[in-house]
Symmetry: none
Amino acid sequence: MLTQERRNKILEIISEKGSVAVGELTSVLEASEATIRRDLLALANLGKINKVHGGATLPEHEFLNKEDNINVKVRKNLEQKRAIASYAASLINDDDYVFLDAGSTTFLMTEYIFNTKAVFVTNGIAHAQVLAQKGCRVFILGGELKDTTEAIIGIVAAQNLQKYNFSKAFIGTNGITEKQGFTTTDTDEAMIKAIAGEHSFVSYVLADSTKFGIVSAVSFKPLESSAIICDKCDSEEIKKKTIVKEVL
Amino acid sequence: MLTQERRNKILEIISEKGSVAVGELTSVLEASEATIRRDLLALANLGKINKVHGGATLPEHEFLNKEDNINVKVRKNLEQKRAIASYAASLINDDDYVFLDAGSTTFLMTEYIFNTKAVFVTNGIAHAQVLAQKGCRVFILGGELKDTTEAIIGIVAAQNLQKYNFSKAFIGTNGITEKQGFTTTDTDEAMIKAIAGEHSFVSYVLADSTKFGIVSAVSFKPLESSAIICDKCDSEEIKKKTIVKEVL
DNA sequence: TAGCAATTATCAATAATTATCACTGTTGTA
DNA sequence: TACAACAGTGATAATTATTGATAATTGCTA
């Protein structure tokens, strides 16, 4: 039997039964233990199986759950972000219809939201999960889940978003400058942020101080269209153009 | 029996019964007390169980995240579900536009889906995350995330679903009988399942053999409208009425 | 507190794994 | 053809992991 053939059979057997012992494979495939072991090693290195003492099992996908992913980003400038998130969360009232953007700072807001009757719409999966767990009414924006499994973006999401009208929108950003306004890395993301802003009575952009002076690829909003919630803002020009709330 | 296999069975037993005694496990799994104790210790260290004097219980997680939740359900009738899921996944071709229902058996399908060009729409968050991680194109159905943070259901989800037309839909069920057809516990869920079926060229209902003869609160589909993929089906009447694929 | 069951700690036996080495058959080259 | 280089295989011995049994300790219940 060809090596490849044998390895395919091993995969097949593991798929069907979920796990298999080395001894079982030697007798079914009529190969020596050494050969089977070598096969298992090769398959395990390719990530196709999970090698365990005595045999092999299906690989358990590490589901990175969303929070782990996000937590990495959250750690940067944590203190500032906490202050920003906490203040932003305090703006939410029971009668609000809130858009909550995907992203790490807005995610921190979910820690400061309790017992509210407000209704949330979000394109962040982690955001939705946490809020739902806290008993909030949460709607997830429909649309495409891109390779990063954190945010729902794209055309379909944009269309869905058009249907909503929010009283408040909380939006993240990558950069803020006087000229280019609010910018982000990706057109799909920008589209969502722009539409959310347009469809909200008030919109707040959350930004720690490192975001000022940075220009990312795509502008999604002119400066004057949103209030900014930040830890501190050194630019008098920006302060002249729009409302800036400094929380530190 | 593989160590891992034995530990999975322990988890299965605990999630079904809520707790278990050491002595019970030694006789069911035919292992010595020492081995069982070592297993319990290992599982407790992973936080999968709560070790108590005399045995073990379900851990009181404050938050079980989605995957844990689903994994508990997945463990029941695992072997049958695997066979069902594996067969169902094999039906997906590159040119398919697939609806994947939320639920534990359909979730297992994601383990058997590789390198496909098929496009998926799902109302299960975990399902979407895993498929996206595998590089599939995945759309999440927009709508309300109910207290269980696992599935997107409700009116908005139903409306969104209306827009799609699938080539294949894979749907879970709580019960199957000749008279009431396919039934589930909740009207919101039933609505999604019904619409998905109507908007798909072919629909498959996935059910392990324990579902036959069970009637849940809400019918979402007559028997003859779907093919059934199951481990085995003893009812000749059901087989007369619709296509039944027995995978074991 | 006594009595009993359950737990932990330890050790020997067993099973599985790894690391080598020798054998086979294939390929390319002189 | 003869030969070397090589990949794949099987066998063996040394190492390591897992297991079951036992004794010592701990925790429960009356």
